[in-house]
Symmetry: C2
Subunit: 327 residues, 2 copies
């Protein structure tokens, strides 16, 4: 089996039922809304988060209808936040397709995102658990908080790691953490289950690793998506590879240049120089090391014998997949 | 007692506890978020909706801590939707203060609204009722759906009442309906209580009346807020007074002009002519009649003897206040 097959194998049937539930939710008798929802239904990604909900449920027990609804709820909240992030980042593209704001304007995109947030709540409610709802409400708060922190960072003049991890914990790791936690809570014996803690830790670490990979990727000169390196820099976002290199090897000129990047005032040549610094100043190596360490720590949280071998294997493969390792 | 005193009298102590809970929620250790929340805390309106939650709770029983949390949750969801509406309408002002998007940009306003949505969920969860959560999730969906329908209407070329009522039911009446329903559910004996149905009907009718008053107000040449008449028209929104006049007294030229208003292509003189038509074509009188009928129907839902006299009196005064009557 290839890595994706290995990951999906224990939840293959569940994933089909999930997909039907998800697609059935993306329609409306409101014409403008229906167009936007149909568009979003077409551009679904690799479904990393709903798969995690289901694998965590299997790790702790089994995939019930309540688990499936929670998986739909989590993915819908994720979709809502992507629609809103595209407004914040003024992105025209998402997953190779035009963004909602590019097609119907920021005004409609605000409302489509809001609609999806509420739809997400309705699905999560079908899990019948107030504990799940609390986690989802906290997640919604974290996602907005993380993006706002990131906006705020563009006004700061220091380059430490700490605010970076605060941002990625809220905007990325929280989504993985919540996916796994609600899956394990609903699939197993509720919140006090040891499997819930194991899955929560596993997913938090992996969520950080996922964002690190994304951030490292942005410094790749031969970016697969065809985008030039330094896309995050163009949005004023300084990520770990560059932050590390600035601290370790940055000259005062580099620091001044990095601040211009944050303020959106850097030239193309300066962006190029910053990408170069991340490589030459050891930032890429450092961030890659951190990412691999996080993935290994995540895997170490999997308790042997807790779940059927195929489930633990899938969770291990999932961790490798997140950091882009060959199996 | 003046009308507002009469309305607040049965819930005066509760309102103080509500206010503490609400204000305590509007702070954050995220600097940008905290600034925006502090700004929002300063511009609180007349608290019509939380007062309705509490009066409905008293109508059905009593105001408990759960009722107070639901009141905070409803008002926070309302605040979130206002922050997002100001992006959609590109409004610089709200309640006499600068809007969040005017002060910190649309990007931050999207995220501040999202944060408030999630905060609202957290408060509603403290009501401990999945039934309440379902109503709140449905409300969030209705609010977004109503605004999207309104955006979509700018592309239509008919002037019937039906889509108008669809929009105001979702964007305004749903908020009143949900406020009263969750209040009565939590304050009384749960969902099957007759008081819950009475309060739900009362509030739905009153919510429609509230929006009608707002829409009529916009045609007032001597608008108290100092804004020129026809503000809605400048945003491409045709409301009941004009829709009625167009149907009853509009010439083909008026119809063509009304479509230019919808498309945002009308001149100031044309806006002026449309305001005039609403008056001369009987639209203002018609809409005022409808509004008064709705308020009277709402009052007729109040069952004598169901609640202490002071509570029924307050709910009657509330209805009069909504339509701007002297008592």
């Amino acid at each position: 089996m290839n890595p994706l097959e290995l990951i999906m194998h224990p939840v293959e049937q569940d994933l089909k039922r999930y997909q039907t539930l998800f697609n059935d939710s993306l329609c409306s008798d409101n014409p403008l809304l229906d167009m936007a929802l149909t568009h979003l239904a077409k551009r679904q990604g690799k479904r990393m988060r709903p798969i995690l909900v289901m694998l965590a449920a299997r790790y702790a027990g089994r995939v019930t209808d309540k688990v499936l609804h929670a998986a739909v709820g989590v993915e819908m909240l994720h979709t809502a936040s992507l629609v809103h992030d595209d407004i914040v980042d003024e992105s025209d593209m998402r997953r190779g397709q035009a963004s909602v704001n590019a097609l119907w304007g920021a005004q409609a995109a605000v409302l489509v995102g809001d609609y999806l947030f509420s739809k997400s709540m309705q699905h999560c409610l079908l899990s019948g658990s107030l504990g799940v709802m609390e986690l989802i409400a906290k997640l919604g708060q974290d996602l907005a908080d993380g993006e706002l922190l990131q906006l705020d960072l563009t006004h700061r003049d220091t380059f430490s790691d700490e605010p970076y991890y605060q941002v990625i914990d809220r905007k990325t790791a929280a989504l993985f953490f919540t996916s796994a936690r609600v899956g394990a809570m609903l699939g197993g014996n509720g919140e006090d289950d040891k499997a819930v803690e194991e899955m929560s830790h596993y997913a938090h670490l992996l969520g950080r690793a996922f964002q690190l990979r994304d951030d490292i990727f942005d410094f790749d000169w031969q970016n697969q998506s065809g985008k030039p390196a330094g896309n995050d820099l163009r949005e004023g976002k300084l990520t770990l590879p560059l932050l590390y290199a600035l601290q370790q090897a940055g000259t005062p000129e580099d620091h001044a240049m990095a601040l211009r990047v944050r303020h959106g005032e850097a030239t193309d040549a300066e962006i190029h120089r910053m990408v170069q610094l991340a490589h030459e100043g050891g930032g890429i190596d450092y961030a890659t090391g951190q990412m691999n360490r996080l993935a290994d720590e995540a895997i170490a949280r999997l308790e042997p014998g807790r779940a059927p071998v195929e489930v633990t294997d899938a969770l291990r493969a999932y961790a490798h997949f997140v950091v882009g390792r060959e199996l």
